[in-house]
Amino acid sequence: MLDVGRHPNIELLAYSEVEKVEGEAGNFKVTIRRKGRYVEEDKCTGCGACAEKCPTVVSDAFNEGLGERRAIYSYFAQGIPSTHTIDADHCRQLNGKKCGICAKTCQAEAINFDQEDRILELDVAGIIIAAGYDVFDPSVIPEYRYREIANVVTAIEFERLLSASGPTGGHMDRPSDRAVEAEIAGLEKKAKKSQKAISKLEEKFNEPSAQFYKKYQAGEYKDDEDRKKWADKYTAHLAVTEPLEELKKQAEGFTVAKRLAFIQCVGSRDFRFYPFCSGYCCMHSIKEAIISHEHEPETTSSIFGMDIRAVGKGFEEYKIRGGNNSNITYVRGRVAEITEGPDNNPVVIYEDTRERKVKRQEFDMVVLATACAPIKGIAELAKTLGVELDKYNFIKTSSLSPVDSTTPGIFVCGCAESPMDVPESVAQASSAAERAAEIAFQMDLEKEKAVA
């Protein structure tokens, strides 16, 4: 990533989109829209002082909504370029409110609220599509109750929980527990405020609130307005502290998730959604189970799937190693339903096809191995570029020229072509680069010929 940012032959156009493409192989004219970041790219040093002071808190897309960021942000900590961006939908200043704190904080004077989109025209010999994929949204599968049961998460969400730079710092805290902790933090803030208010009154009347309140309830101080206010404030304080104490008691029992279930083929190999196999999910479930076991040696994982497809160099060995060393059980069977048991524990109902028995098992957390879906906006991009899509909306190729699109001079690699894992993406990317280079060097030759 770093190499891409500093290579002299690479012009990095982040936060940009392709708007128009004309011409043919060897001679494309491309129009690119560089979206306004409201931050000057050549001035911003990426120090992050603006994001520290920004008052607007927004859910963080990089952490799959599990964390928070500010309205001015860098997409992720090690992101390249490190230029910050203002989220125009949430920024107070850009929505007509008074703010501009980031502009006052920025020592490089990089903030520019008047920055507009810029249009860039490029002449290129060839184009490579590496647009990637989208994670399938499992909330459309009613039986898995994703979003209804807090502790049912997608594989990519789980990946953020596992990450040391993620919202939990790599601890396997369950989403339901994190929600309770967030509620405790909110209530504590409120309790501090109400405590301050009643402390003042306690000082004024020189009496503890509890003692006063007993007398007040007994009918003393009936017509005393000041004391009535005190009583109201005290009941408001109790309304905060009582549920707070209860939640705190509940939170004492929280531990990290140790019993994990991984459900394979969520959206893929499913005729209701995508009939194809997404290829990488078996392996990433095994990987997530192994890493969880590394984090917490007591972790046990069950991987529920029709079969485990470990096709690739070293993959089968990895699967067996997971089973032997990382407490992974592979269960052959498709999960029929997930329900919620006590303590927010998801309960998985499935048929064990080896024993021909329907079983129920309780877990701390369930991870859905979601399908690789074609990326949103691929139809528009294909139209702009004039390339065809296959029946699932991946870029159409043929088996004998797997990186050539239907238009000469336009190539494709990675999950824009079909679902694939990292090693395969890298191999295909090099292949597409070589195909594009052929055209580039041909152009060079023709230029030389013209001169001669």
Partner: protein, 55 residues
């Protein structure tokens, strides 16, 4: 006529293509929709089967 190449997408595939081309001496314009490159792989903690760090 230019011999530049346009790469659409700054994930692992787009980055690898760009680097290969750039190392061959070809000028690359890498377009990414999001504020930073890295794509889905940057969101991953580790990669299989070697458990290498993704970033």
């Amino acid at each position: 006529m230019s011999k530049d190449i346009l790469v659409i997408g700054g994930g692992i595939a787009g980055m690898q293509s760009s680097l290969d081309l750039a190392d061959m001496g070809i000028k690359v314009h890498l377009v990414e929709k999001l504020p930073s490159i890295g794509g889905k792989m940057a969101q991953l903690d580790k990669t299989f089967p070697t458990n290498d760090c993704a970033i």
